[in-house]
């Protein structure tokens, strides 16, 4: 059970800042809904957990992340993450390439290309929900990422001439890992659509 995803998000910050954040794996993981780095093995190997929650369903994966490439030239990062869920019945892996492309001095695009592969029970029973869920995860990731780059921007502005190279230090703590919340996410994802249909009832 594989899904390919390619998404581009506009980031209201200079490419340098976004790239700086992208190089900070803990920081990146911090933007992943429900994800947490539990151990830094070395510069390119980490251990962590991801919790995915959807209605009554709740899967928590533990596994490893390997940084396969970090290319300053193209501002791109390639990660490979894999793990098994707490009951051992399911497994997942993700091959992710994230790239930062400057748009102008103040903004850039974050493009993520990933192939998510599922095995076990989750693949057998989750087929019907997998597309939407992966979508939600990426959207919230982008939202968190954007929030953090903006925070960095504020900070580096404050620190007068901030050296983007060192901008990765002293970041605000990654938002504490909350499991992906189906309700909040779906709400975010389809709010616009709902508004067009029914006004903003229930918002």
């Amino acid at each position: 059970m594989k899904v390919q995803l390619e998404k581009t998000y506009a980031m209201p910050a200079p490419a340098q800042l976004a790239w700086a954040l992208l190089q900070d794996i803990e920081g990146v993981a911090g933007c992943m809904p429900g994800a947490k780095i539990t151990e830094r093995v070395d510069d390119t190997h980490y251990k962590g957990t991801v919790a995915v929650k959807l209605g009554p369903a709740n899967l928590s994966f533990r596994g490893e992340i390997e940084v396969r490439a970090l290319d300053a030239g193209t501002h791109s990062l390639r990660l490979f993450a894999k793990g098994t869920d707490s009951t051992g019945g399911s497994a997942a892996s993700m091959d992710l390439t994230a790239r930062v492309e400057p748009v102008d001095a103040a903004s850039c695009n974050l493009t993520g290309t990933s192939e998510v592969s599922m095995s076990g029970k989750a693949a057998t029973f989750g087929g019907r929900v997998m597309g939407p869920v992966a979508d939600q995860i990426l959207n919230q990731f982008a939202a968190n990422f954007s929030a953090r780059v903006q925070a960095m921007q504020a900070q580096s502005a404050a620190a007068a001439s901030g050296a983007s190279a060192s901008a990765a230090q002293g970041l605000p703590a990654a938002p504490e890992a909350k499991p992906l919340n189906g309700l909040a996410l779906m709400w975010a994802v389809i709010k616009g659509w709902l508004r067009s249909l029914f006004g903003i009832k229930g918002a």
Binding site: M1, K2, K82, T84, S86, T87, G88, G89, S90, A91, S93, S117, M118, S119, G120, K121, A123, T124, F125, G127
Partner: protein, 809 residues
Amino acid sequence: MGDLSDLKEREDKLQGMGTSLLRKEDAKFIRGQGTYIDDIKLPGMLFGAIVRSPYAHARIKGIDKSKALASPGVVAVLTADDLKPVNLHWMPTVGADVQAVLADKKVHFQLQEVAMVLATDRYAAYDGAALVEVDYEELPAIVDPKKSMDKDAVIIREDIADKKEVGHGPRTHPNHIFTWEAGNKDAADAAFKSAEVTVREEILNPRVHPCPLETCGCVASFNKATGYLTLHVTTQIPHLLRTVLAMLSGVAESKIRVIGGDIGGGFGNKVPIYPGYVVATVASIVTGVPIKWIESRIDNISTTGFARDYHCTGELAADKNGRIKGLRFTALADHGAFNSHVSASKLPAGLFSICTGSYAIPNAYARVDAVYTNKAPGGVAYRCSLRVTEAIYLIERMMDVLAQKIGVDKAEVRRRNFVQAEQFPYTTSLGWTLDSGAYHTALDKVLKAVDYEGLRREQAAKRADPNSPTLMGIGISTFTEIVGAGPTKVCDILGIGLFDSCEIRVHPTGGVIARLGTMTQGQGHATTYAQIIATELGLPASDIVVEEGDTDKAPYGAGTWGSRSTPVSGAATAVAARKIKDKAKKIAAHLLEVGEGDLEWEIDRFKVKGNPSQAKTMKEICMVSHTGNIPAGMEQGLNAVAYYDPPNLTFPFGAYLCVLDVDKFTGGISVRRFYALDDCGTRINPMVIEGQIHGGLTEAFAVAMGQQIPFDDNGNHLGNSLVDYFLPTAMETPTWETDHTVTPCPHHPLGAKGVAESPHVGGIPCFSNAVIDAFAHLGVTHMDMPHNAFRVWQKLNELGVNKRSARRG
């Protein structure tokens, strides 16, 4: 004395062969008093839960038991490493291969057995299983057998990568198992070269599962003091299982007792020997306490006893009138990760060579190539004999393809190719000798019963009407089955011939106990065997007890599968009864002071010819046989045992016809009528036969219309629970019309043939032929099973049949 009403009364009292005697086995089942495997509870028993792989193909880098061992109630966690000391982490298969009992370094298919957690109860065991941490390194999986033998294909079985052969001739690729051939290829090729007409189709028999309502399981109990091993187990082959256990465990076969108990349906799923049985047995030997292992439904569909997965090509060569001159059938067989396919040693492709069916085909060639994939092993015969459904499906489909090609009616093309009644015994070009048959009679009776011409007229009218919301299909199947394995000269498993047995003991007051090597799973053996003995010995069936499945009590036999019970054990029963009858006759002659030649048999007694008042009833003889008043030199008692090695298999046949309607817009199919005529020779219990046919047809309907075990590219199951796997309910299941002719088997002591599988083997092609016939006028010659609405709709959509005419109403 002797008048007709008296004869009838005595006859009726026996309730012997030919009567629809109500089943003896029902009494416990209707009260909920059956003893199925999960009903068995022994003191101190532990429950074993199996840890399974989420990956279809992966290396095991490590297994961490610590969390599981710390879980409440968990007693032990067994892995391959724990079985190594006793050398039971791998086990030999009937396919001359080996199979991992618990995954050793690698998992080869999704949900493969990796570890067993032993705990004080089922809940604790499953909690523990969820806590066993296995570190995997995923490998690419091969799911499509057509890719197994690619040059760059990943090697599935590293453990035998350099093995030159797996039982059946040279391997041409590390993922190749064997290639089997039958018939004369040159003669067949020549027939195709000179043929006026040839047809060819690629036809799939998808991977399915017998899915009995009870899953597999066992309770293994080893007594350390006595060294005696008792295995309660869901098995169709208790005696062969005992022998294999002795070979595996080193425990003397005399100290192993296998007990079949009540079985909640088998349909082939309970023939193989599964890792769960072996781990539970080893665990009991090691711990000295009883171990229960019960499969979940998902594990059942995913890992034990799949069937089919034959990717076939059918070719027929014929003259322009449809008379067949040559046949070439080949199959690529997906055997999964280990070759534990159930088959007789000399028949790696089972009885696939019955694929000439009911037809006189002068030149034929068949070939099967078996390969490994990252799927579960253990291919079984799902309510059929070994690979017979695959063979008959192919020939019955191809008869339709040929008929469409030459524009001859599908019933007529069959008539033109049938083996003629006077040709029997008829030896096919692939080497089987069909003992008897009356194919024309059967087909004509069915066509008349359903008004075949009328149906074809109605179909023509529907086809002419563009506004008809449905397509009408008429399917025919005139199959010949091959059951009752089998003659030991052709059929053995692990060297043991597939004979079977019956031991009969007659008690002084006329009560009888009979014990057999077979194993009922609902077929009604306790009733039908008793009826055979009742007729043979003139003692009432009500006083005859039948026992099976306990290897300490029953004589050795190959068990119940492949519709072999009546053909083999039924024969053994008759032979044993006749031994007793011969002795009884001597005693009667002695008592009546006449020669044996002066006696004649009448229902329940021997009487003196011409002096009917002079007679001895069997009941009287039973008592006398236990006294001193028997012929000099004769031993007391009326007991006999018979081991029956059948001279040939039996060849039941039938003619089926199905009428159905396809909804043009949804692809949904509704079966309007299904008429099944079966000929199984002598009919022992018509009620039981009818019941077997209803069940077989229903399983055929399930296979044709919906069953399939689907996988994604990673080898993940996509439908391995009853959420998706199709078991029809009373709502979906059609109503069955049954009929019969009787053509006795010339070589069976009772003239009987097997029957339970005919409706499955003959039913599947009948459904498919009906579905495809609905599309025949649109040029469609084949559609693969299952014919579920989605797949049928895709064809409707492709042909544009589902478009409504844009007329404004």
